[in-house]
């Protein structure tokens, strides 16, 4: 669905340089701190910025050659951009009807009803959660084969987040060949949705790993200075000095569990992955 090879985008104080693939039927998460390059990557995939080098292909076509018909197969929800706040949802329905050949109006209306989105109220009067829900509903109601979601749950309470994630899960169940690229700060959202995770930092991919592997194999060890010295460091990805000694992030927690009985190893999470790989001292 998406193939990126050595994508380069230069800004004055920042360079994005990465490669990645999103195959058909997969859900990939792009995680990283603010300013890591997640949104720039999304913009490059959508052809919203000019790249300085590399290849970006969507549906096997260079993104600069994408036609309106190709774009109909993509559903997009951007974190900070949507339909004009002066429009109502009823206006949006009218626009989408004339914009997409496969626009599913009954589904759109049904989702608006379920999610309590008023049809005749101006979007600028919507709450943050309502705007986010409308963006996701807009993205998934024209039978898109590729969904690109930039921070769809950012700034939302747990109830609104759960509703949005449930909508995406339902969409995946009904469209099993659909692929999703999603960025988020909230790791628990990605853990329950993504097949694999790309960790991006300073414009580069630091880690690409299956979500199951991160949760099963990765772990955070907490050791004192004496134990740290004796520790086999061949499977330690990064280390951080703490008041009690060291926090060590590993991709082989079972190895340390078996060879260092009594060692404290916490289950790995995407939050730990972001924190340790971007803040810790990498091996």
């Amino acid at each position: 669905m998406i193939h990126i090879e050595n994508l380069t985008k230069n800004y004055t104080n920042f360079t994005l340089q990465l490669s990645f693939d999103l195959p058909e039927g997969k859900v990939s998460g792009l995680v990283g701190k603010n300013g890591a390059g997640k949104s720039t990557t999304i913009k490059a995939i959508l052809g919203l910025i000019k790249r300085n080098g590399g290849k970006v292909e969507v549906f096997g076509k260079d993104v600069s050659d994408m036609t309106a018909a190709d774009k109909e197969n993509i559903g997009v929800a951007l974190s900070d951009s949507g339909f004009s706040g002066y429009l109502t949802v009823e206006n949006v329905i009218d626009i989408l009807k004339n914009m997409y050949h496969c626009f599913d109006e009954p589904m759109f209306r049904q989702l608006c009803q379920v999610l309590n989105l008023p049809l005749d109220k101006k979007i600028k009067e919507f709450s943050t959660g309502m705007k986010a829900k409308l963006r996701v509903v807009t993205a998934i109601t024209h039978n898109a084969k590729l969904l690109i979601m930039d921070e769809p749950t950012s700034g939302l309470d747990i109830e609104a987040r759960t509703e949005i994630l449930d909508i995406l899960r339902d969409y995946l169940v009904k469209n099993d060949d659909c692929s999703i690229l999603i960025t988020s700060h909230i790791s628990s959202d990605l853990e329950g949705l993504c097949d694999d995770i790309y960790l991006i930092h300073d414009g580069k991919i630091l880690i690409h790993e299956d979500t199951d592997n991160i949760l099963e194999k990765y772990g955070l060890m907490k050791v004192d200075a004496e134990r740290y010295e004796k520790l086999d460091k061949s499977h330690i990805l990064s280390t951080r000095k703490e008041s009690f000694g060291y926090s060590c992030f590993t991709d082989e927690k079972q190895y340390y569990r078996e060879n260092y009985p009594g060692i404290v190893i916490e289950k790995g999470s995407i939050d730990d992955l972001i924190l340790m790989m971007t803040k810790g001292e990498t091996a």
Partner: protein, 217 residues
Amino acid sequence: MKGLLTKDFHIISQNHRYLLIYVLCSFGLSFVLDSEYVVGYIAMLMGIMGTSTISYDEFDNGFPFLMSLPVDSKTYVREKFLFCLLLETVGTIFGAALICVTSLIKGETFVFSEILSYMVGVFIAINLLTCCLIPIELKYGAEKGRVVMMVFYGFIAAAALLLTKIPTADGILIDTVIKGLNSLSPALIGTIAAVMALLIICGLYLLSVSIMNKKEF
């Protein structure tokens, strides 16, 4: 294209109160001003309303989402030109209708061919002015665009003023132009003006497309 046109019609229909005020103002003006001014006023207002939809698209960082829809830069620009043209056509026809109604109320007779010639002349002139605004709005955005537009209008006013001063300094140039035009039939002058306007509008369209193509969202 259809989706974009629908969006813009919905956006300007939000301003129905202003539209009503414009209609009332135009009706009032039609009693005191010459016909061509009334038609020009209404057509210009409609044209400005058309170009203002670019500001609505830009508002609240709307462009990235808009350009992620099944729309490319060329279609976006084409839609803006078409939308302004449609609004100006409606404005010109409405202005002409208003003149006829006012003339009837005042008990004056009106010559339809005269009104038609106003309509064509005003439509071409206003369309040219509006089409100049599109690349300015696209290049500089709503805020800076306003300043550039003022400079642009100032430049046109200065050029017009300069042209009126030429005969007093040296009557030869303007006299030659007037004599030359008088020797042509009105239909030919209209055709030449229309072709020139069309060429300039095509140039402005290409300029707008190139501005949009260079833009990053």
